[in-house]
C-alpha cells in the first residue's frame, strides 16, 4: 500500500505526487550526522584554544583534551537541539559521549603498552632470559645480566597459587550456586569481604603466620600462599557470576533424566560455563601476577637463581622491577623497564591463550548477547 492511497482524495487539478517518504533507520549514520560531529569538534577545538591558550594561558595536553571534549559535547547538543529538538538532542549527545568515553578508555591502554615497549625494548636481549644478576655490579651497564631468576620465581609462585586457588575458588562458587544451604549467605558475604582484602594485608598475614609464627624463612611458597589469598575471591566471585548465568532449564533437564547433582554440576553446569570460568581464572591470575607488595614480605627477593620455591628467598618479576626502580640509577631503571616489558608480555601471552581457550559460550562478552 503506498502512501497516496491514504491521503484524502483531492479535487482536480491533481496535486503533484508527494515524494515517497524515506524510511527512518535509527542506527544509520547519515552524511549530515558526520558533518555535525566534525563541525562541532572543530568549533570546540577553536573555542578551547581561545580559552585555554589565550584567556587562561598554560600548557598541558591533558587539560586541553578534557576541555575540548567538554566543549565538543556541549556544542554538539546545542546544534542537534536547533535541528531536531531537545528530546532527540539529549539522546544523541548521550550516545556520542558514551561512545567517546568508552573508546577513549583505550587511549591510556595504548599509552601504557606503548610506553613500556618503547622504554623496555632497548635492553631486551636473549641474556635477559638466561642470565641472573649474579655477575652484575653497581656500575654494570643495563645490557649486562638478566632476570632468569625472577621469571622462574614468578612462574613457580603463580603456578603454585593457581594449583591451590582454582579448585578452591570454583568449589566455593559451586557451593554457593549449585549446592546451596544455610551457609550460602554468610559465605557470599565473606567472599565479597575477602575480595577487598588489600594485597599488602595478605602479605602481612602470611608473614605473621608462616614466617614469624611457624619460623619458616622467606620462600616462594610463602609468596604463593599470599597470592592464593588474593586470587581466591576473584576466582570465586567471577565463577559464581558465571554459574548464575547458566539457565535453570539446563539443570532441571539434567536432573529430570536422572543425573545426580554431582553429575549435573560436572557434566552440564561447568561445561556450559567453561569460557566464563576461564575468564574467572584469568582475572585471578592477572590480579596475582603483577602483585609486588605481598612479595616484599614473603618471597623477599634475591639476585641469584633459586629454583626451589620451598626454601630460601626467591625473586619474581615484580620484585625485580621494583627493586631496580628503588635503586634509581640509570642502568637499574633501564633494567626495571625491561623487566616491566617482560612482565607485560607474559600477561599479554596469558591473555591471548585464555581468550583462545575460552572462545564462545555463556559468560563472555564474545558469546553472550
Amino acid at each position: 500500500m503506498s502512501i497516496e492511497t491514504l491521503t484524502e482524495p483531492s479535487p482536480a487539478p491533481p496535486a503533484p505526487a508527494r515524494p515517497t517518504p524515506v524510511p527512518i533507520r535509527p542506527r544509520a549514520v547519515r552524511r549530515e550526522d558526520v558533518a555535525i560531529v566534525v563541525a562541532s569538534a572543530g568549533s570546540a577545538l577553536a573555542l578551547t584554544w581561545l580559552l585555554y591558550e589565550r584567556l587562561a594561558p598554560l600548557s598541558g595536553g591533558i587539560g586541553f583534551v578534557i576541555m575540548w571534549f567538554a566543549l565538543f559535547i556541549v556544542t554538539y547538543w546545542v546544534v542537534i537541539r536547533d535541528i531536531e529538538g531537545r528530546f532527540i538532542a539529549t539522546d544523541k549527545t548521550i550516545a556520542l559521549s558514551i561512545g567517546c568515553v568508552a573508546v577513549g578508555l583505550m587511549i591510556p591502554l595504548v599509552l601504557i603498552i606503548g610506553y613500556v615497549i618503547v622504554k623496555g625494548i632497548k635492553y631486551l636481549n636473549w641474556a635477559f632470559f638466561t642470565q641472573t644478576q649474579a655477575a652484575v655490579g653497581p656500575d654494570s651497564p643495563a645490557s649486562e645480566g638478566g632476570a632468569a631468576h625472577a621469571i622462574v620465581g614468578t612462574l613457580e609462585q603463580v603456578g603454585l597459587a593457581m594449583l591451590v586457588s582454582v579448585p578452591l575458588g570454583i568449589g566455593c562458587a559451586v557451593y554457593m550456586n549449585e549446592v546451596g544451604g544455610r551457609m550460602v549467605r554468610p559465605v557470599r558475604l565473606f567472599v565479597d569481604a575477602m575480595s577487598g582484602v588489600p594485597s599488602i594485608v595478605a602479605g602481612l598475614f602470611i608473614f605473621t603466620v608462616w614466617i614469624l609464627g611457624l619460623g619458616q624463612g622467606f620462600s616462594g611458597f610463602a609468596a604463593a600462599l599470599a597470592l592464593t589469598i588474593l586470587m581466591l575471591p576473584t576466582i570465586t566471585r567471577t565463577s559464581e557470576e558465571v554459574l548464575r548465568l547458566v539457565p535453570d532449564g539446563l539443570r532441571e533437564a539434567s536432573l529430570a533424566v536422572g543425573a545426580t547433582q554431582w553429575r549435573t554440576t560436572w557434566n552440564v553446569v561447568l561445561p556450559t560455563a567453561r569460557s566464563g570460568l576461564v575468564t574467572a581464572v584469568i582475572l585471578g591470575v592477572a590480579r596475582a601476577i603483577g602483585e609486588t607488595a605481598p612479595l616484599i614480605m614473603t618471597a623477599f627477593g634475591a639476585q641469584l637463581m633459586n629454583v626451589n620455591p620451598f626454601a630460601g628467598a626467591q625473586s619474581s618479576l615484580p620484585l625485580f622491577v621494583y627493586g631496580a626502580y628503588v635503586l634509581n640509577t640509570t642502568s637499574e631503571v633501564a633494567r626495571a623497564w625491561t623487566g616491566a616489558l617482560v612482565l607485560m608480555l607474559i600477561v599479554l601471552l596469558l591473555f591471548l591463550i585464555a581468550r583462545a581457550v575460552g572462545r564462545g559460550g555463556w559468560g563472555t562478552g564474545g558469546g553472550q548477547r
Partner: protein, 331 residues
C-alpha cells in the same frame, strides 16, 4: 480444554501429596561436603587474618590505645614513649580512593552501557577483551607509567586548576609543587579501578530483561529513555556493587601509590600539591626497616586497613545481594 478437567466427586477425599524426601547418593554427599568445605574456608581465612594481625598488633594498640587512630605522627625510630598513629594515613587513603572513584565510576558506567547497549556487535567482543586487558596490567606498571609518563603531563593540568579554580579549597595550593600529589596518584588508581567496575556493571546491564527494553522502545522511548527507564534501574545493584568493589581495590592499592606519592604525615584538603600518603603504601615503604614495636605498629595499621576494607565490602555485598539476579532467566 473442558474435557481434560475431571469432575471431582465431592464425597471422595483428596489424596495426601506424596512426601518428597531428598536422599542424596554417596557421591552427592561427598560433593556437597567438599563444596561446603571450600565455601567455609573463606570464613576461616578471614578469621585467621584478623586474629593473627590483632595478635601481632596488640603491643602497638596497648601503647597508644584509641589515640592510634587520631595521632598524626610516625617516628623514624620507635621507643616505649614514642607516639604514633594512622590519622593522616587514614585521611589520605580515603581522599585518594574517593578522588579515584569520582573519576572512575562515570567512565565505568559509560563504558558498560556502551558495551551492552550502543556498540555494534562486531565491536563488543574486542573492546571487552581490551578492557579486561586494562585490568590485567600489573599495578607496578601503572605505578611506573604514572611516575615517569603521566606525572610530567599532569603538572600542567594541576597548575592550571590551581590557578583558575583556587577559590575551591581542594584546588588551592599552599606550596606550588605539583609532583607526587594525591591527584596524580588518584588518576592512576582510577585507571586501575575502571575495568573492575566496568566488568561488574557490564555483567549486570547485560542481564536487563529484553522484553522490558523492547517494551520501552516500542512505546516510543529513545535509546537513552529506554536505558534510563529499564537498564539503569535494573542495574543499580551492579553500579553500587561495582563502585564498592572498585573502592575496596582503591583503598588497598599499594605499590602504584608508593611509587607516585611523597609521604607526609599532616592532612590538608589540597590534593593538587605534593605530598600524600596511604596506609598500604606506608606499610610497603616502612616494612624493610621495621622490627619489634615498629613492626607491631605496621601490623596495627594493616589491621585497621583490613577492617576498613572489610566494612566497605560487606556493605557493598549487602546492597548487591538485594538487586535482581539472572537466576530467573528462562531459555
Amino acid at each position: 480444554m473442558d474435557a481434560t478437567v475431571q469432575e471431582q466427586d465431592p464425597g471422595t477425599p483428596v489424596p495426601e501429596p506424596r512426601p518428597i524426601a531428598l536422599n542424596p547418593t554417596r557421591s552427592d554427599r561427598v560433593y556437597r561436603g567438599t563444596a561446603l568445605g571450600a565455601g567455609l574456608l573463606t570464613l576461616v581465612i578471614l578469621f585467621l587474618i584478623g586474629f593473627f594481625l590483632f595478635l601481632k598488633a596488640w603491643p602497638a594498640f596497648h601503647q597508644m590505645g584509641f589515640a592510634f587512630f587520631t595521632t598524626f605522627e610516625w617516628p623514624a625510630t620507635f621507643s616505649s614513649t614514642s607516639r604514633f598513629g594512622i590519622g593522616a594515613l587514614l585521611y589520605w587513603t580515603v581522599v585518594i580512593a574517593t578522588t579515584a572513584l569520582i573519576f572512575a565510576v562515570p567512565v565505568a558506567i559509560a563504558t558498560a552501557l556502551f558495551l551492552t547497549e550502543y556498540a555494534p556487535l562486531a565491536v563488543r567482543g574486542p573492546l571487552t577483551s581490551l578492557i579486561d586487558l586494562l585490568a590485567a596490567v600489573p599495578s607496578l606498571i601503572y605505578g611506573l607509567w604514572g611516575f615517569f609518563f603521566l606525572q610530567p603531563r599532569m603538572i600542567g593540568l594541576s597548575s592550571w586548576l590551581s590557578r583558575h579554580l583556587s577559590f575551591i579549597p581542594i584546588f588551592k595550593v599552599t606550596t606550588p609543587v605539583f609532583k607526587s600529589s594525591a591527584f596524580i596518584a588518584a588518576t592512576v588508581v582510577a585507571l586501575m579501578v575502571v575495568p573492575i567496575c566496568t566488568s561488574v556493571m557490564r555483567e549486570v546491564f547485560s542481564q536487563a530483561p529484553p522484553s522490558e527494553k523492547e517494551g520501552a522502545l516500542a512505546l516510543g522511548a529513545t535509546r537513552w529513555g529506554m536505558i534510563r527507564a529499564v537498564v539503569l534501574p535494573f542495574g543499580v545493584g551492579g553500579i553500587i556493587g561495582g563502585s564498592m568493589l572498585g573502592l575496596g581495590r582503591a583503598l588497598g592499592e599499594t605499590i602504584a601509590i608508593a611509587i607516585i606519592i611523597s609521604p607526609i604525615f599532616g592532612i590538608s584538603p589540597h590534593i593538587l600539591q605534593s605530598g600524600a600518603n596511604s596506609i598500604a603504601a606506608h606499610i610497603a615503604l616502612r616494612f624493610g626497616e621495621a622490627t619489634g614495636l615498629s613492626l607491631s605498629a605496621l601490623m596495627a595499621a594493616g589491621l585497621a586497613l583490613f577492617l576498613f576494607t572489610l566494612l566497605v565490602n560487606t556493605l557493598a555485598s549487602i546492597i548487591v545481594s538485594r538487586s535482581r539476579s539472572g537466576k530467573g532467566v528462562e531459555i
